[in-house]
């Protein structure tokens, strides 16, 4: 019996390239395992049974960019681009499938990446506050984690770009069916997670975090407009109120962040903090709530224009982040990632089509939930 793999496709006849994306949902991870997860993401690109690092770089880069692997606490995302057409799709799938099913995981490669100290900026730390020191990571831990994480039920496959419709699923099946059947699912016993906290910092990121399902285009679009209004661009609430009026931050942004259960809306301010951080978070929440109440239909038109530009990957402070590497770019690769992350429920055209029907009061409600301010995440980092 073939195993039913979640496979999604978005053929785009006008595209110049194709992209294959593989999203792996992370298993439950403690602090050390999360560090190993990030190392695993790096090590995958150092070579597979069929492709050396050189091959991956040259052969896999035919779509203009080399294969990429991004890791967050919730996902590992592999994306590979190739020239348009089914031949390109086959190439991209073969490279992606090799990275998932046949990585070499060489000891020296793991040791190298585990030993590499991660120089993280304040923004990196704000986005992924769970990142921890990887110097204690052993090859065995990384290999065990690979065995535990890379099981078919954790993996979704997606393709976007120019190729024949309904051809991707059979390709995936023929490429990884044997591997899928051979893989035994490894379930882990729930454990109390251990986290380290950081202190003694010069700069601080304050985050107001909330969650929303985002499983329909209309729900996602509503939250996108709310995020735009609160924290995308210099006409946003965070920029106008928190930076320009209060001088409390230099950098501020809203981020829509994918997690296993759906999406998080994350409102960040980065800067030097004077006074107790919890009080400052409460003040920010109150200021945002007051600003939301003053939004008008004229503002709605601006939110919509910015949201449309964000969906094209053409706005500089885009709140849609599919991976920790950066915001939505409008590439076919990101189309494939969005499709796989949302289990086929979201695409840029569908979200775009939902925007004109949105009402100001609904966007304000979504924004109020985002700015409600529970929980507050406070992350300190020392720089310079």
């Amino acid at each position: 019996m073939p195993i039913a793999l979640p496979v999604y496709e978005l053929p785009q006849p006008d595209a110049k390239t194709v992209a294959v994306c593989v999203v792996v949902r992370a298993p439950e991870l403690d602090a050390q395992e999360l560090a190993a997860w990030h190392v695993l993401g790096k090590v995958l690109l150092d070579g597979t049974a069929n492709y050396t690092l050189e091959d991956l770089f040259r052969f896999g880069g035919q779509g203009g960019v080399p294969p990429r692997v991004a890791t967050s606490a919730d996902f590992m995302i592999v994306s590979v681009g190739a020239p348009a057409g089914n031949a390109g799709l086959e190439v991209a799938l073969d490279v992606a499938a090799n990275l998932i099913t046949k990585p070499e995981l060489r000891e020296e490669s793991i040791t190298k990446w585990a030993a590499a100290p991660r120089e993280q900026s304040t923004w990196d730390l704000a986005l992924m506050p769970q990142s921890v020191d990887s110097r204690q990571i052993t090859p065995r831990l990384v290999r065990d984690l690979y065995q535990r994480a890379m099981v078919p039920e954790r993996i979704a496959w997606a393709a976007a770009g120019k190729f024949e419709p309904a051809t991707f699923a059979p390709m995936v099946e023929s490429s990884v069916d044997e591997w899928s059947k051979a893989r035994r699912s490894v379930t882990s016993t729930p454990r109390a997670l251990r986290w380290e906290t950081r202190s003694s910092a010069r700069t601080t990121s304050l985050e107001l975090r909330s969650a929303f399902p985002g499983q329909s285009a209309a729900d996602f679009a509503t939250n996108l407009l709310a995020a735009v209004a609160l924290g995308a661009g210099k006409s946003s609430s965070l920029y106008r109120v928190i930076r320009e009026q209060k001088g409390w931050s230099y950098f501020q942004q809203a981020v829509l962040w994918p997690v296993r259960s759906g999406w998080q809306a994350r409102l960040f301010t980065l800067g030097t903090l004077t006074g107790p951080p919890l009080e400052r978070c409460s003040e920010i929440a109150a200021l945002l709530q007051a600003d939301i109440a003053a939004w008008s239909d004229n503002d709605m038109a601006r939110f919509s224009s910015i949201a449309q530009a964000c969906l094209e990957g053409e706005f500089i402070m885009n709140p849609i982040w599919l991976t920790p590497s950066g915001s939505l770019s409008g590439s076919v690769s990101d189309d494939a990632i969005l499709l796989a992350l949302s289990q086929g429920s979201l695409s840029r055209p569908a979200i775009r089509a939902a925007i004109p029907a949105l009402r100001l009061d609904l966007v304000q409600d979504a924004a109020r939930r985002m700015a409600a301010g529970q929980p507050f995440i406070i992350q300190a980092s020392g720089q310079r």
């Binding site: 040259r58 590499a116 900026s121 304040t122 010069r202 661009g233 053409e314 500089i316 310079r384």
Partner: protein, 387 residues
């Protein structure tokens, strides 16, 4: 009609030689220096976005890190526009403004959908108007600059150390310093505004899917009446409060100018090193002369091993370096905003170079030239700047 004469003449000759004289091919790029001294470049880049960029050249202006910082403070204030509504207007159509200050120039990047070039020019006209700044405006901006200062990231520290080692005070860090910002006065900044907006310092670039002649005509209309005042002399401000920066986190090489083959060979070889160790990074900001190429990143800790492996695999480093360098250039050329930025940064330093020339030059490098450059890198030690 001002036109890149040599390019269009060659295209004409080529068409004539092929017996296709009835096919008129327009040059993809136009350049013009106006009677008042304003310089402009417009270029075709396919896509949905139009990028109009204003550059205010810093050539000969920065006499220390503090005066570079004054340009940075001026950038913060001037970018709001005289009515304070620049961002709201642009964002209403899905556009945006990015201001930044580099060693070459202070730059206002206006990006809009390709069918809203009218708004881009209206905003540019506002940003070019003479400004006078008040004390409350200055003091209101200081906490924000202090926040920016506090958020200085590790990469920037490495860059600052490398530039200081390479050029000393001749090319000061453009961010400035807290004491330098605090020493700025409203009248001083208003004078700086006059100096930066003098026609001899203004460069305008545009890129996107647009009609080059029409865009150039609009730029002429935008800038044709900008006056050229007598130069303002900046005196050396109070001594620096910048801490001494020491870092061994780089190996750097001077990039002399855009027609210097050895400099581009160094750039290609540096790119190739990334294949030996993916944690290495290459930093380079386009500058027509006195630029800097940096190799930095986590791999430098193991530089001895990397250098040994790179010597063994020199032919791969060279061929992959070519590939990565050309990817870098083609990614810049495919984006309207990047194309306009590179054109402006070069022109702000009075260079007639272009990305196309850089690509052609890199493509013509021999393996021997890149190999020599690679040897220079591999013989160097961390914190060294190759002359």
């Amino acid at each position: 009609m001002a036109r890149a004469i040599s390019t269009s003449f060659l295209l004409f000759l080529a068409a004539f030689a092929l017996g296709q004289a009835d096919v008129i091919v327009k040059a993809p790029r136009l350049r013009k220096t106006m009677a008042n001294g304003v310089r402009a470049v417009v270029e075709q880049v396919p896509g949905r976005r139009f990028s109009l960029q204003l550059f205010f050249s810093a050539k000969g202006l920065d006499v220390g890190v503090e005066s570079a910082g004054w340009r940075h403070l001026w950038e913060h204030l001037a970018a709001k526009g005289p009515s304070g509504d620049v961002d709201r207007r642009l964002e209403s159509v899905g556009g945006y403004l990015v201001p930044n200050t580099t060693r070459a120039a202070t730059r206002f990047e206006i990006n809009v959908p390709a069918d809203r070039t009218d708004l881009a020019f209206a905003v540019a006209a506002d940003l070019l108007k003479p400004r006078k700044f008040s004390a409350p405006e200055l003091t209101g901006e200081l906490p924000i600059l202090q926040q920016e200062w506090d958020l200085t990231e590790p990469d920037r520290v490495v860059f600052r150390a490398a530039w200081t080692k390479a050029y000393g005070a001749a090319r000061p860090d453009p961010m400035g310093s807290p004491l330098g910002w605090a020493s700025a006065s409203p009248s001083g900044l208003s004078l700086l505004d006059r100096e930066l907006k003098s026609a001899r310092r203004v460069v305008v670039t545009a890129a996107g899917p647009h009609d080059l002649d029409a865009t150039m005509a609009k730029i002429e209309s935008l800038c044709g009446s900008i006056p050229t005042d007598d130069p303002v002399e900046l005196s050396q401000p109070i001594p620096t409060d910048l801490p001494a920066v020491a870092s061994s986190g780089f190996i750097a090489a001077k990039h002399r100018n855009w027609s210097h083959r050895e400099s581009w060979a160094r750039f290609v070889a540096a790119q190739g090193l990334r294949v030996i160790d993916r944690t290495l990074q290459v930093g380079y900001t386009p500058a027509s002369s006195d630029g800097l190429i940096l190799v930095y990143g986590l791999g430098l800790d193991k530089w001895k091993n990397i250098a040994a492996e790179a010597r063994e695999r020199a032919s791969e480093v060279i061929s992959d370096g070519r590939l990565l360098a050309l990817r870098w250039a083609s990614s810049l050329r495919s984006d309207a905003s990047d194309t306009a930025a590179v054109n402006g940064l070069l022109l702000a330093e009075s260079s007639s170079a272009s990305l196309t020339q850089a690509v052609e030059l890199m493509g013509s490098l021999t393996d021997a030239e890149i190999s020599a450059a690679l040897t220079e890198w591999l013989d160097a030690k961390p914190s060294v700047v190759l002359p």
